[in-house]
Symmetry: C2
Subunit: 357 residues, 2 copies
Amino acid sequence: MHKLLTPGPVPIPEFVKAALAQPVIHHRTPEFTDFYKEFLADLRYFFQTEQGVCTCIGSGTYGVEMAIYSMFAPGDEILVTSHGKFSKRWAAYAHHLGIRVHTLEMPWGKSPSRNQILEKLEQAPQCKGVVLTHSETSTGAILDLEEIAFAVKRKNPDILLVVDGITSVGALPYYHDAWGIDCSVIASQKALMNPAGLVGFAFSEQAKSRLRETYKGDFQNLRNHLLAAESFSSAFTAPVQLLFGVQAALSYFRKETLPSVWNRVHQTAVYFRREIGEMGGSIFPDEPSDSLTSFTLPISQFSISEIKAILDKKYGLILSGGQGDLEGKILRVSHMGLWEKKDMEEIVIALRELLSQ
Amino acid sequence: MHKLLTPGPVPIPEFVKAALAQPVIHHRTPEFTDFYKEFLADLRYFFQTEQGVCTCIGSGTYGVEMAIYSMFAPGDEILVTSHGKFSKRWAAYAHHLGIRVHTLEMPWGKSPSRNQILEKLEQAPQCKGVVLTHSETSTGAILDLEEIAFAVKRKNPDILLVVDGITSVGALPYYHDAWGIDCSVIASQKALMNPAGLVGFAFSEQAKSRLRETYKGDFQNLRNHLLAAESFSSAFTAPVQLLFGVQAALSYFRKETLPSVWNRVHQTAVYFRREIGEMGGSIFPDEPSDSLTSFTLPISQFSISEIKAILDKKYGLILSGGQGDLEGKILRVSHMGLWEKKDMEEIVIALRELLSQ
């Protein structure tokens, strides 16, 4: 059996598979309402929030696009940090919507700091929002969300903070309320260990009051999804099976408790980074995220794609390479999901064997 | 075990459940490419097309929104027929996008005719597209798509025909190529008997050449999804599990053959409509679709919601009521999925018992 160690999708545990296979219930029934009520309570725990949450059918990309679309209008000014494939995409999307985008651009692998963001906001005092990618999946870089959020809100509490938490919530410490985030976005195929297809959102009261009003049938407008969720219903056809699967994962997090999961992820990441260092490799980002490790190896006899192929065929270990500008330059390993230190050891042993060839 | 007889979602057969439970494969691998190549070939059969097809994460509503967004630009003029909850929504969405919408509005339960559409196009000769809802799920009405498509294309072959085939493709005769449709939209939780979460599209060459160019990361732009599908890849994270499930359904249609499935659906619908007529009920739409039956009953002792509750609790039969303006006025039964005449008989027996009380 191969081990899928990519930073999303992650393997689906058996208990999630069992939940996914439950009989369909219709989304316009009291049964669904009862189910979704409990589901949303668990989702609040996952985000560490007491405020509004909702879900809808979508991919991670679409989730962030929806958030930007729903919270800002053409002509609004916002600040977007761009330091990898995904954060760059959010800037492009906002621009596409007619939003006036101030981009804090930096080399891939770097993370924007509080001061850089504050400086950029000085130059663009009309900004109504800041879009941040907490853990940049393409580079493995983390940013100090707590510190940045605190500084931005202190400067101007009216600025809406939109956070791509796709590769962070459920794997890394994340406190939607305590950190003052206005809109957090997640996707089902990452820490939630489910099939791709569901996106989840948490809002602040301020964000909720500032969601655009369009019309009731507008799928892309999160206002419709959030208002429906307040009465435990779904604005459109609900992906019932996937909600069952995600519910199983949310229950797991409740039972294990988030701090204990965060700690396991942290331990596996620390162990893996240290081993990569010891074998002469380099961690690619300056500030590595614990949810995945992007790294290079001191190896000249094989290319990155050859290493990936050997790990897959000889060791049954499926890793990711780089994306965009990083293709062929880095390898990426996920620490999201149920991985433990022993799984990382397997990769380390395989890499050491490769290096000694 | 309850029977979920709603016109979507429909029950998920065991062979689809087994496919949904297969291990995750990453969507950036040769395995996925091989799988998706075969998948897309089967999807072409399903649409009866030799032209471009693609899929993406989404609900039916979002699928139609994407199609309108991708094929028309603000300022374009289009004609939308509005004769139920969903067709009305497509008009609202197009309007929301800044498209100049000419709406052919008619009472819910009626179906637009070829002549009405041609007349409306006479009045709006600049129309670049016509959006049609083949089978209106909220009313159970069908429109004569073949005749309308032929007449519109004869009048002006440059007009793009966008068809909501969500409650029709896979249940009713549908020929994307032969009828000259430019963009057909389907969703996984209807005739495909899968969880909600996947939308599928078929295009004509003309439609493909006229898809808007925006930028590569724009999830809503079908151009990105279609171009990726041409090399059997997915523009964004693919919903791999759901694709496995849909593949199992597509194989079923291949094996059973579409005409044989259409015939079964037709027979169950004809039988059910006749029985409703014989017990003094009325079929709600003038031109009923075979994929679902919307009807009223000659009953005064129970309200529609009471009838629904009795059917559910006493007989284990889950039907839908009306939506929007039709709430509390009609009942709806699906003929999509694996239902046979004997399943319809069960409903008929239950309804007759209710009527005799």
